[in-house]
């Protein structure tokens, strides 16, 4: 109950503290290297073009903040980067501004999945697994079936403490073809099958919450392999850490920019989206942070060294597009089942 109390008090305090328009343009994003790269590629050019000052804050997913802004009418963000699922949920509840794509040039240069009613898809993220190259010097794991093979590749495994991505990976390891994953997962038998596969490695599982944990654990040898975001692993690898990311059968999803409903700087935020959608800005971002662009022309502006670390081209030849719509429908029930499974 303490957290609720703190949350309430802080809402009250922030209500008193910030009158609506007397603040700078506020951007909420995922923090870390990710946000550093965005600052260079998007925030600074945007602020310069608009002649305004901006402040940044971090957002950790979920609808809690957006809902609080919607309920109190005190909108403290003008732009937020979130996962596609959350953006869709928030859109359905009227917590985000709808985007007039005609005013943004129709979004023809973008991937079709990036053109969303309340959000502009901006970043493609690879969710695969990584391993410590020193741990598997003789033979390296190649796909999810190796990840689930404790005999051949002994050692602890890290997975995100959530059903999404994990159930898909389990089915891939169990031999379900990529184009049938969500079909199988829509049936009770398919869900049972995924959990049965996860049961086979449960004794060695360790669950992460934050994207930085897999890197720390892999480097410290706490786990032998872990699911991870490609950007984190590749950044660590460039810093000389003995890590390798497995592209085969990874799951890629899209992070989006959205505008909270009632944001005082809505017009400027739309201008931001114009910049963020350009191939030039996205190429600049991807060069600094190894996540993929949603602008189909951005690849032409990048060096081959950059491209080989991104979830684009050859790397997504054998990859699964993450289904936001499946998880919007099924998250509640599967999360409940997951929590139960973890506790047992």
């Amino acid at each position: 109950m303490n957290y609720l109390k703190v949350a309430r008090i802080s809402v009250v305090v922030s209500l008193c503290a910030s009158p609506a328009m007397a603040r700078d343009f506020t951007i909420a994003a995922w923090g870390g290297n990710y946000q550093d790269a965005q600052r260079e590629a998007y925030f600074n050019p945007f602020a310069k073009a608009q002649g305004l000052k901006f402040v940044e804050t971090t957002y950790l997913g979920g609808l809690a903040e957006l809902k609080a802004m919607g309920d109190t009418g005190n909108v403290t963000w003008d732009l937020v980067m979130s996962g596609g699922t959350d953006a869709q949920l928030a859109c359905d509840e009227g917590l985000l501004e709808e985007i007039d794509w005609d005013a943004l040039g129709g979004g023809k240069e973008l991937l079709p999945a990036a053109v969303q009613p309340c959000a502009a898809g901006n970043v493609v993220i690879g969710n695969g697994f990584a391993y410590n190259t020193e741990a598997f010097a003789a033979e390296a794991p190649k796909d999810w079936s190796d990840f689930f093979n404790l005999e051949k590749f002994p050692g602890k495994r890290g997975l995100i403490n959530n059903p999404y991505m994990n159930l898909e990976s389990a089915l891939m390891a169990d031999g379900v073809p990529l184009d049938q994953i969500y079909e199988v997962l829509s049936t009770p038998e398919g869900v049972d099958r995924a959990f049965a596969k996860l049961d086979t490695i449960k004794s060695e599982l360790q669950f992460w919450e934050a994207g930085s944990q897999p890197v720390e654990w892999l480097v410290a040898n706490n786990v032998a392999m872990s699911s991870a975001y490609n950007g984190r692993i590749i950044t660590a690898k460039k810093e000389g850490k003995p890590l390798e990311f497995v592209w085969k059968n990874h799951i890629y999803n899209i992070d989006v920019w959205a505008i909270p409903k009632g944001a005082p700087y809505k017009e400027q935020a739309l201008e931001f989206l114009k910049i963020a959608n350009t191939a030039e800005a996205q190429a600049k971002f991807s060069a600094a942070m190894p996540y993929g662009p949603t602008n189909v022309n951005a690849g032409k502006l990048m060096s081959p060294e950059t491209v080989k670390d991104l979830p684009v081209g050859e790397n997504i030849a054998e990859a699964l597009p993450y289904s936001d719509s499946f998880w919007i429908e099924n998250y509640d029930s599967l999360k409940e089942r997951w929590s139960n499974w973890v506790v047992q």
């Binding site: 109950m1 949350a7 809690a64 809902k67 359905d92 009227g94 360790q206 410290a220 506790v343």
Partner: protein
């Protein structure tokens, strides 16, 4: 001051006014959130107000009238309410979300009969959906408590718990177990330290006190993270163990119950030591000396003279640690594995990730009532003990 001297009643009034400020503050920052948590756990106005027409139509039970009422209600909802309704119903059954959103958006174009609804989406023929709506359109709801306890009313009207549904009860049990273990550990470690501070030489007591206070003033997050660094596979302790050839391979010290207990004990230690120290300070040293001079050995003196008098401090320290530990969240999240997470972890998850404030509130109320019950039980126990002493 001079005014108070001249008019004592005025000073009472002034005192009352002065007192009213902290009382009002107390009500505002403590009781109001508490009351709102309880009401959130029962509140169903989000669903209840939206389905007013349907609730009226349900009474005569005519299927077409119900279908028409449902369409009226959904059609009248704003996007925000429709989305919220869809999200809440989806917590009860997968797929409800899309059904509600789809039906709500097209409500004007659907023929207002049961056949019309079913031909729009055949899921409306499934009585399960209607049953869920019927159960959840009242102004208050017990469904969060049902989920929290896993209790269900079966077809015969009996209360049952099916296996696998009692997750939060099991987490509650685990929370109590970890809390109890941490309390015992802090007391076992804290008691000698508190004794050292009160009875040791100036130097010993000063050193111990400085260490205890230093860790007391350091952020919980920092101390927890420090334990992560110390206990991890390539951490200091494992390096030491391997270096001393005590183990051939690093031992798993963190992301399990061991790590959780170590970090929590350390974080909570000052809360046990400080009250014990205060009570021990009040025990006259001359009593121990008298006991020794009357022929009791050091152990007997401690057990019969010192320890019983220090027990009050142990109770206060232990009680403080116990109640603080029950609500722990950050430390187990960072140092524990999936089977070491306490109830607060699930509460935070419901608040932040799934926006299910009703469920978060129900779990909070469950945790709160456990504390209240335990405190009451302790009081009754104390009272019975003092009564028995009185008889003896």
């Amino acid at each position: 001051m001079s005014n108070a001297l001249r008019n004592p009643h005025g000073s009472r009034l002034a005192a009352l006014i002065l007192l009213s400020i902290p009382v009002a503050l107390y009500i505002l920052v403590f009781l109001t959130p508490l009351a709102s948590v309880v009401s959130l756990s029962l509140d169903n106005s989000a669903l209840g107000t939206g389905f007013a027409t349907l609730r009226a139509a349900t009474e005569d039970g005519d299927a077409d009238r119900r279908a028409q009422a449902l369409l009226t209600d959904l059609g009248a909802m704003e996007q925000k309410q429709l989305g919220e309704t869809a999200r809440m119903l989806n917590q009860e059954k997968t797929g409800f979300r899309s059904l509600i959103l789809k039906t709500g958006k097209e409500a004007d174009t659907i023929a207002p009969t049961m056949d019309g609804l079913v031909s729009f989406d055949k899921r409306w023929a499934d009585q399960e959906y209607w049953g869920i709506i019927d159960r959840n359109i009242g102004q208050i709801t017990w469904r969060h408590y049902q989920k929290a306890t896993g209790l269900k009313v079966d077809a015969n009207g009996d209360l049952t718990i099916s296996k696998g549904d009692d997750i939060y009860l099991r987490v509650m049990g685990r929370t109590l177990l970890i809390t109890l273990q941490v309390t015992i550990l802090t007391l076992l470690i804290g008691y000698p330290l508190a004794y050292g501070v009160t009875n040791g030489t100036r130097r010993v007591s000063g050193t111990i006190l400085a260490i205890v206070l230093l860790s007391f003033w350091t952020s919980v997050l920092v101390r927890t993270t420090a334990w992560v660094v110390l206990l991890q596979t390539n951490g200091l302790i494992n390096t030491l163990l391997v270096g001393l050839k005590l183990t051939s391979e690093p031992v798993q010290l963190i992301f399990n119950r061991f790590g959780t207990l170590v970090a929590m004990t350390h974080v909570l230690l000052p809360f046990a030591i400080l009250p014990m120290m205060n009570v021990m300070r009040t025990i006259p040293k001359s009593q121990s000396d008298a006991s020794r001079s009357l022929g009791a050995g050091p152990i007997e003196t401690f057990l019969r003279v010192y320890f019983p008098q220090s027990l009050r401090g142990v109770l206060v320290g232990g009680g403080t640690v116990f109640i603080l530990a029950l609500g722990f969240y950050v430390t187990p999240a960072l140092t524990g594995g999936p089977n070491d997470q306490m109830l607060a972890y699930f509460i935070a998850d419901f608040v932040n990730k799934t926006l299910n404030w009703g469920m978060a509130s129900a779990l909070s109320v469950m945790l709160l009532s456990t504390v209240v019950l335990l405190v009451a039980a302790a009081r009754i126990g104390q009272w019975m003990m003092s009564n028995r002493k009185g008889i003896a």
